[in-house]
């Protein structure tokens, strides 16, 4: 398993944990305090910030070439997929807001922050899945 695969798996675990914790927190808060206070459970998505640690946890091995043309192609394809997915998320967010609130409605400023965080998580999720799928799930295709 190479560095990018490790980062992708790390990101997937972080995202899954953040989503699960957020879901659990929202459910518990909804039962205890009701909406809209339960939406505070989205704060658990902040765990996604741990993904920023991945370059530190999985450092480059300077003693050997760890990135060839094939890796560059995989990385570009994954980045492209991630960006497309995040844009689709933004469009979906806008359409949902339009349908739920109406054309003349207004949304809280904090919802914009949630939208950006959601877009980032979507990007990271699709990037990680694309990396893992391209290299192969077992990690046999790219040993380093």
């Amino acid at each position: 398993m190479n560095r990018w695969q490790k980062i992708a798996w790390f990101n997937l675990v972080i995202i899954a944990s953040a989503l699960l914790l957020s879901g659990a927190a929202i459910t518990i808060l909804a039962i205890l305090a009701g909406f809209p206070k339960a939406l505070g459970g989205f704060g658990c998505l902040g765990l996604g910030g741990l993904m920023g640690l991945s370059p530190l946890l999985f450092r480059k091995d300077k003693s050997k070439v760890s990135f060839d043309e094939r890796d560059v192609l995989f990385a570009r394809t994954a980045a492209f997929g991630g960006f497309c997915a995040s844009y689709l998320f933004f469009v979906a967010f806008f359409v949902t807001a339009l349908l739920v609130i109406g054309v003349n409605g207004s949304v809280s400023v904090s919802a914009l922050g949630i939208m950006v965080v959601g877009g980032y998580i979507t990007h990271s999720l699709v990037w990680s899945i694309a990396i893992i799928v391209q290299y192969g799930r077992e990690g046999r295709e790219r040993e380093s």
């Binding site: 207004s106 809280s108 400023v109 922050g113």
Partner: protein
């Protein structure tokens, strides 16, 4: 000049016309006819002209017997798209965070603002993508000549 370069140049022209028309209309509505800013912003409806950039890809169809796309073209296309999204993200985040500083944490923005964010994002992506394509092939069009 190959198909991607022609498409990119056409997209840039359409974008520039759409933006110029929108700005001129907003200015005319506000300063000539005296509409309020909120009403004058309707002039940005002209930005929808950018849909023309995708109206007829067949006009760029290659007539030569050479394969329409090789690996280098795909690489350039992919690089341009990634560059466009790298440009889009900071602008989008700025647009999302600006109301927080303008209206405060308890403020609200109209749903139409989200619509403008999505459209502005598309505008930025398409413009940067076209610029990156032209830049990658070279301005003279010699590199991707068909």
């Amino acid at each position: 000049m190959n198909r991607w370069q022609k498409e990119a140049r056409f997209t840039l022209i359409v974008m520039a016309v759409a933006l110029a028309l929108s700005l001129v209309t907003v200015g005319v509505l506000r300063f000539v006819f005296g509409f309020e800013w909120r009403s004058a912003m309707a002039g940005f409806g002209f930005i929808s002209l950018m849909a023309l950039s995708r109206v007829d890809p067949s006009m760029f169809r290659i007539k030569s017997k050479k394969p329409p796309l090789d690996e280098r073209d795909l690489l350039i296309k992919r690089k341009a798209m990634i560059a466009a999204y790298w440009g889009f993200w900071p602008i989008f985040v700025l647009m999302a965070m600006a109301p927080f500083f303008v209206y405060g944490p308890d403020g609200k923005v109209p749903v139409i603002y989200l619509c403008s964010m999505v459209f502005a994002g598309m505008f930025v992506v398409m413009t940067l993508y076209s610029i990156a394509i032209l830049q990658e092939y070279g301005r003279g069009g010699k590199d991707g000549g068909q």
